[in-house]
Amino acid sequence: MTSRRQFLAIACGTVAAGQLYAQLDPNIQAKRKAALEAAIAKVVGDAPLREGKVKLDVPPLIDNGNTVPITVTVDSPMSASNHVKTIHLFTEKNPQPYVITAHLGPRAGRAMLSTRARIADTGRVIAIAELSDGTFWSDTVSVVVTLSACLEDGLI
């Protein structure tokens, strides 16, 4: 037998959930994927994107998506003729795919970037490095997020 109090709790919960789902775009997954692909295409252009050289260091299991330590290192001598020009960082499931774009040069000595990002949901994190010879290299890591950043956006 459902008490009056339980009934109210269930009813309120159902209404709240209904409103939440009403805000959700049914094609959100496809849109996010398209946004990520567009962002990568904007960076890479027509050049081929190859795997390797880049090492993306992200914890595979993230307790709190609001601050995720990320370190990107690129295997490069960082000389005047052969160095990393740019490091781009993308996430798959955030409301917008960009995280950071860092411009380095031969004066960096080592191609290393360390930062902290917000990750909304379980998905891929992608680092892309542009070398001085115009080639693009990438590394992708799949992460599991237990507490999401930007929850109120209704990502789950």
């Binding site: 917008q96 795919p97 960009y98 995280v99 950071i100 004066r107 290393m112 360390s114 917000r118």
Partner: protein, 106 residues
């Protein structure tokens, strides 16, 4: 008041690769969050970070909403000469923060 912090070694050998860590106190409001009444909280983030070594730009970064609050940026540079490292953060709503650090190269 914009509060920022940088970590730069006080002295280094010539040609040594030094690591620089920077931290800015900022909420990095994404512009995707809503208040309890359903209004969007406007975006307020740091959009650009620049580091200059004796006036020459050695590192620049464009930041987006997916950066965590109080953005930490760590990078490296070669200690070439004694002088000043200058850090500048710029962002939405006229946010501007500056910090300087001295380095002695022996």
């Amino acid at each position: 008041m914009a509060r920022v912090a940088v970590t730069v070694p006080a002295s280094a050998k010539r040609g040594e690769i030094i690591e620089i860590k920077t931290l800015a106190q900022h909420t990095m409001e994404t512009g995707f969050r809503r208040t309890q009444t359903g209004e969007l909280v406007p975006r307020d983030i740091i959009t650009e970070f620049v580091c200059r070594y004796n006036g020459v730009e050695i590192f620049r970064a464009e930041l987006r909403q997916a950066m965590a609050a109080n953005p930490l940026i760590a990078f490296t540079t070669v200690a070439t000469e004694s002088g000043t490292l200058e850090f500048t953060w710029t962002g939405d709503n006229g946010y501007l923060a500056n910090q300087k650090a001295e380095i002695k190269v022996v």
